[in-house]
Symmetry: C5
Subunit: 307 residues, 5 copies
C-alpha cells in the first residue's frame, strides 16, 4: 500500500480494521488510487431536483447503470447515490467500484422552512448492497440541526461497529445564517469542524468564499490575521479546521458551469491541501465521452499531471 | 418462465430470491401472466370513503370475499386491500391469487390539512396472511412527506429482508403544489422517481396531464423539448423517469366514468410502455358480470388482443 | 358446539386457534351462550366520569368484585373494564366469566379538544390477568384519529399473535363532524367499517339515527335508496357495512334512561340483525336485583323468549 | 403475620408473590408494623424546591443519610426519595428499612404551564438499590395527564412483573380545574379512583376539603346526599372511591404548620378509615429529636394509643 | 491508595466496582492524584464556538492530539471532549490519561430559544474509546430541561451498569431565570442539587455570585442567615447542597481572563471545600509552555503548595 494511504489510515487509529479497510478501498480505487486524493461521483439529484431537471440534458442518466459505468470509465474513487439508484446496479457492478449509500435525502416538491431531510436508507442496507460507506447530509444553522446531529450520531455509531466508513455532507443552511453565509469561510470551517466532532471520516463542504458571517468570528479572524484572500488559503483554513488536516475533507463542485472555472476551483482546492472533489451535475449532465474527459482533467489536476 | 418475466426480474438483481419470487408471482398470475403487464384490483375505498359510497352501487361488494372472487374471475394479477378485507378472505382463498396488503390508509371523516395516512398493517401481518407484497401510499408535496418517506423506508427494508415485494402508491398532494399540479407531468414523473429511489419494486401513479407545475422543471422540459403532448408520450416519460424503464410502473384508473374513456386511457398507457393498470371503483362498483367483462377488455388491450 | 357459533367462527378463519377459542368463549358463555348473540357488561365509568357519578347511585358498585358478580348473576357473556377493576377481581373470579381488558381510557377532569385516550393497559397484562379479549376505543373524526388507529394496529397485531380477541369501541367524535353527526347512520356505518378494516373481531357502535352527516354520503344514500327509516333498518345497514355481516357488531346502551325505551332499542337491534348489546350505566347503577332482572329481559329479547 | 396484613394482601391477589412480599414488607415494618396502617417519610423537596428551602431550617438534612436515620429512629414504615438521595444511602442502610424510589420529579426553576414531571429513575434502578416499591406522581387535570398515565402504565407493568410495589402520588393540578379544586372532595376522590384504575397498590392523595369542583359531580353528591362535612367523612368517601377500601390510600401532610392542626388532621384520616400519612417537610425540617417525637405522636394516633 | 480517595469512594458505595474504579482513576491521576482534588482539561469549544474562535489564538490546538499532550504535560486528572476529538487521539494515547467523553453538545450557528443540546455520543462509544467517564450538560431553567433530565437518566443508568463514572455540567440557563440568575448562589446550589439527585458522580457548576434569584429562596437565605458574602462561603454552600459534601463538585474557569483573578477564584474554591476546577479556554488558548505553567499554579493552589 502507498505510504500516503498508510499515513491517512493512521489518523483513524481508533476505528476497527473493517472501517479502515473501507477507507483504504476508497483511497486505493481509480486513477487517484494511492495518492491520498479522491474524486467521487455523486448522483442524488433525481431525488433532490426531480428526474427531468437532472437527466433530460443527458438522457442516458435516467438509467441507474449509467452512473456506475461513468464512475468506472472516468476512474473515480467511488460512486454515491440514494437507495434506489444503488440498488439498481449493485448486483451488476458488485465489487467493481466502492459505493457510498446516501442515507438521507430532500425533495423539492414542498418548499419549506429550515431543511431536515428524510432518512431513506440504513447501515444494514449499505451492508446488504456491498457499500464501503454511508453518506449523510447535515444542515448546520437549520433549526432542525439537532435532529440531524442525533441521526448521524446513531448512524455513525452503527457504521463504525459494522465496519463501514462515514461520509458527511456538511452544508450550513437555515434561519441561523444568511444566504451569503452558507459559503462564508467562518461558517464552512465551522461546518467542517462539527462534522469532524460528530465522528465523520470524510467531510464534504462547499468551496468557501472570503465572506465572514458571524460577528464573534470576524473579531478573531481579524485579530489573528487568518489569511482568507485566495481559495487556496481558505481551503487550507478549512483543512486546518478539520482536526489540523487529520480528517479527509473534500469539496463539492457547486453550481459553477464554466468548465475552466471548475478547473480553477479544483486547482485552488489542491493547492490549499484539500483532498479532492465530489462533482455531480457537472459530470453526469454531459454526454459520457465529454464527462469522462472532464473528470479526467479534474483527476489530472489532483494527480499533479497538469497545473 | 417467460423471457419477458426473466428480463423484468433481472432489474431486481439486488433483491433476494424470496422477493424476486414474489415479483414473479405477480407477473405470472392471471390472464396477463407472462406478458410483463399487470392489471390489479385494489379495494381500499371502504376505509377511504366509507362503506355506502363504496359498495352501495353494487352491494355484493360489502362482502370481502366478493373482491377475491372478482379478481379471480376477471383474471387479474393480484388483489390489494387493507388488513380487514384481506384477513376476511385470506384463509378461504389461500394460494389462489397474489395478495397485496395495504399498510397505510386515510379516512375521510376528518377533513384535514396535508395528508398523512395512518399505518394500519405491517410486514409481519402480510407474511401471516400469505401476501406476496405490501402496498404503501406516499404523498409527495405534503408537508408530512418525510414522515411517510421514513415509514416506507422502514417497511421496505423489512419487506426485502423477509422476501416480499413492495408496491408504492405515489400520489403528489399537499401544500407544495396546486390541485392541477397533482397530475402535472413533471410532478407525476418526479413522484415516480421518488418512489423508485425509495426502493419500491412496483410504482403506481396517476395518468399525467400535459400541465407542468414547477417553474424550474418547465425550463428544462422546454429547453430539452421533452414531448408531453399525448398520454402515450407522457407515460413514456414517466416510465423513463422510473429508472429508464427498469422499474414496473402502473397507472390508476382515476375517476373517469365513461368506459370508453377508460379504454382510451389504457391504450395510451400501453402505447407509452406503461406496465398496466390498477382499477378499483370502475371495477367493483359494476355488477359482477359487467365488471368481469370490463376488466377483460382492459386486459385484452394490454395483451394486444384489441387495439 | 352450536352450529351458529361454528358459523361465526368460520368468519375468522385467518385467526389462529387461540384467538378463535377466545371468540368462542365469549359466544358460549352466559344465558345467550350458543345463540350467536351477546350481552356484555362494561364498567369503565369510574375512570371516565369519576367514582361518585358512577357508583353513588348504587354504592355496591364501588367494590370491583360487585361487577364480576353482577355479570355472572345476570348471565352476561363477558365483563369489560380497565386494568384496576379487572385486576381487583381477576384472581377471585378466575375462570368464571370471560374478561375484556380495556386498554385505553379518557378521564373527564380536563376538558379538551378532539379526544385521544391514554393507553392504560397492554396485551401482556390481559394475558397475565386471564382475559379473553382486549378492548380499545377509537374516535374516528378526531384529529388525533391516526394516533389511535396506529395504537390499535399495534395492539391488534400483538393480540392476534398471542391468541386474544380484539373488541373495538368505534365512537365517531371530534372536529370532523357535528354533535348530531356522532350517531348519524352514515357516520356510524363508516365507523363500523373502519374498525373492521383495522382488524377488530367485535365492533361496538352506538345505535344510529336517521340523520346523514356527510354530503358525499347523502348523495349515495338517496340515489341507492338505502332504507334508514327504522332502527332495525339502520342496524341492518351497519351490520352490512361490517363486512356483509361477517363481523360481530354490538350496540351500546347509550344514555337512554327509560327502561322501556331501552327494550325497544334492543328489539330494533335484534330485528336488524345486530349481535347484541353492551350496557353499562343502565345495569350497574340499579340495585343488583333490579339490574339482574333488567339484563335478564334484554337477554330474553335477544334469545327470542320475548317480543 | 398479623391477620390485618393477610387481609390487606388478599386484595392484591392478582399480583405475584414478589410484589405481595414487598407490600407485606411495607406493612410489617416500623412501629405500625402489622396494624395495616402506614407512616412514610418522603424527601423529594431538594429536587422540587431546591436545597436551601428544603434543608436550611435543619441543616442535618443536607446529608442523605440523615433521612434514613430519621425514618428508622421514628419507626416509619418506609422512606421515599429520588434516585440521588436513595443511592447515597442504599448501601449503608441496606435491608434496614423499605425504600420507595420516586421515579419522576419536577423542579421549580422554570415556572411553566400544566405540570409534567421528568422521569428520573426506573424499575431496574429500584431493583439495583434494593427498594421495595417505586413511586410516581400523576397530575390529573393537567393537559399532559395522558403522558403521565402512559408512563405509569409502562412502569406499573414492569414493576409488577419484577415483583415491586407501586405507589402513586395522585395530585390533581392543571388547567382542567381551579386552584381550590385541587383539594375538592370530588376531585380528590376521582384522583384516587384514577390511580386505582391505573393499577397502583398504594395511593397518596391530599386531605380533601368540602368544596365540590365539577358541576356534573355536584349534582350527584347532592342527589345521593354523600356526607362530606367532616374530614373523617371525606376520607371515608375517598377510601370508598378507592375500590371500596380494597386499596391502600394514604394522605399527605400538606402545608399545615401548626403541629396540633396536623394531629387533628391525622385523627380525621384515621377516623375516616385512611391507611396512614406521608409527611415530609413537617418531619425533616425540625431538629431530629423533635421530629422523632412528632412522628411518634402521629404513629400513636394511628396505633390508637392516643385519641 | 490514599485514605482521602478511599473516603471519597465510600460515598459511592451503591455503585458497582467498575464505576468506583473509574472514579478512583480520575482521583489518582496527575499531580493532584490522591489528594481528593481534581483539575480537568475540557475542550468542547470547537463544537460550541467554532474552530477559529477556539483555536486560532493558539493554532496548535486545531490538532486533537495537542490537548491530550497538554493535559498530560500539565498533570491534569483527566481530559474531556466530544466524540471527534476523543476519537482522534484515543488510540495514540490509550491508557495515558483518564478520558471523559462528552455526550451532548450545542453549536452557535443557530441562535435559538431555551437551550437543548444534541446528543452526540453514547455510553458504548465511551467504552469503545477507553474512557473512564461520560460527560453531559443539563440546563436547569430551560423549558427543555425535562428532555435533558430524561436523557441523562437513561445515560446514567447505562453508564452505572457498564462501570463508567458520570460527570454532569449543570448550567442553569433559559427562560426560567434572568441572565444574572445563571450564577446566583441559590440557583447554582439548586443546579448542583438537581445533578446530585439525578445520580451524577461528579458535578460541574459555575462559581456562584452573591445574587439570590428566587423570591422563595431569598426568604430562606435571609431567615436562616446563610453566609454567601465571600466566594469561599458560597462554594461551601454549594458543596453542602451537594449531599453535604458527599458528591464531588468542581467549578468551571468561566470567562475570567486575568490570570491573577483566576488564581483568586481557585483559592476561593479551595477554601470553600470545592473539589477542583475544570478550565478550558484559559488553558488551551495560551502557548503550551504558558498553559502548563498556568495549570501548574492552579494545581499548586489545590495541592496547598501555594496560598
Amino acid at each position: 500500500m502507498q505510504d500516503r494511504v498508510r499515513e491517512i489510515l493512521s489518523w483513524y487509529a481508533s476505528d476497527n480494521p473493517g472501517t479502515r479497510s473501507n477507507i483504504a478501498r476508497l483511497l486505493n480505487t481509480g486513477r487517484l488510487g494511492g495518492t491520498g486524493r479522491l474524486v467521487i461521483l455523486p448522483v442524488d439529484q433525481g431525488f433532490e431536483h426531480g428526474p427531468a431537471r437532472s437527466f433530460a440534458p443527458n438522457p442516458a442518466g435516467y438509467d441507474p447503470r449509467y452512473h456506475f459505468d461513468l464512475a468506472l470509465a472516468a476512474g473515480c474513487n467511488a460512486y454515491a447515490a440514494p437507495l434506489g439508484f444503488i440498488e439498481a446496479g449493485a448486483a451488476e457492478f458488485a465489487g467493481e467500484i466502492p459505493l457510498i449509500l446516501k442515507l438521507n435525502n430532500s425533495d423539492s416538491l414542498t418548499p419549506g422552512g429550515d431543511p431536515c431531510p428524510a432518512i431513506t436508507g440504513s447501515v444494514d442496507e449499505a451492508l446488504r448492497l456491498g457499500c464501503s460507506a454511508v453518506g449523510f447530509t447535515i444542515y448546520p444553522a437549520s433549526t432542525a440541526r439537532n435532529v440531524m446531529f442525533q441521526e448521524i450520531k446513531e448512524i455513525t455509531e452503527e457504521a463504525k461497529r459494522k465496519g463501514l466508513a462515514v461520509v458527511v455532507w456538511s452544508y450550513p443552511r437555515g434561519s441561523g445564517i444568511s444566504k451569503e453565509g452558507e459559503t462564508a469561510i467562518d461558517v464552512v470551517a465551522y461546518a467542517a469542524q462539527i462534522a469532524c466532532q460528530l465522528g465523520a471520516h470524510i467531510i464534504k463542504v462547499k468551496p468557501p468564499t472570503a465572506h465572514i458571517e458571524q460577528a464573534a468570528a470576524k473579531k478573531v479572524y481579524e485579530k489573528e490575521r487568518i489569511p482568507v484572500g485566495t481559495l487556496a488559503e481558505r481551503v487550507r483554513h478549512v483543512v486546518q479546521s478539520s482536526f489540523a488536516g487529520r480528517r479527509i475533507v473534500i469539496f463539492s463542485g457547486g453550481e459553477a458551469k464554466e468548465t475552466s472555472a471548475i478547473f480553477d476551483e479544483v486547482r485552488g482546492i489542491r493547492d490549499g491541501g484539500g483532498f479532492g472533489s465530489i462533482i455531480g451535475r457537472n459530470s453526469f449532465q454531459r454526454p459520457k465521452r465529454e464527462a469522462v474527459e472532464f473528470l479526467g482533467q479534474v483527476i489530472d489536476i489532483y494527480a499533479g499531471k497538469t497545473k
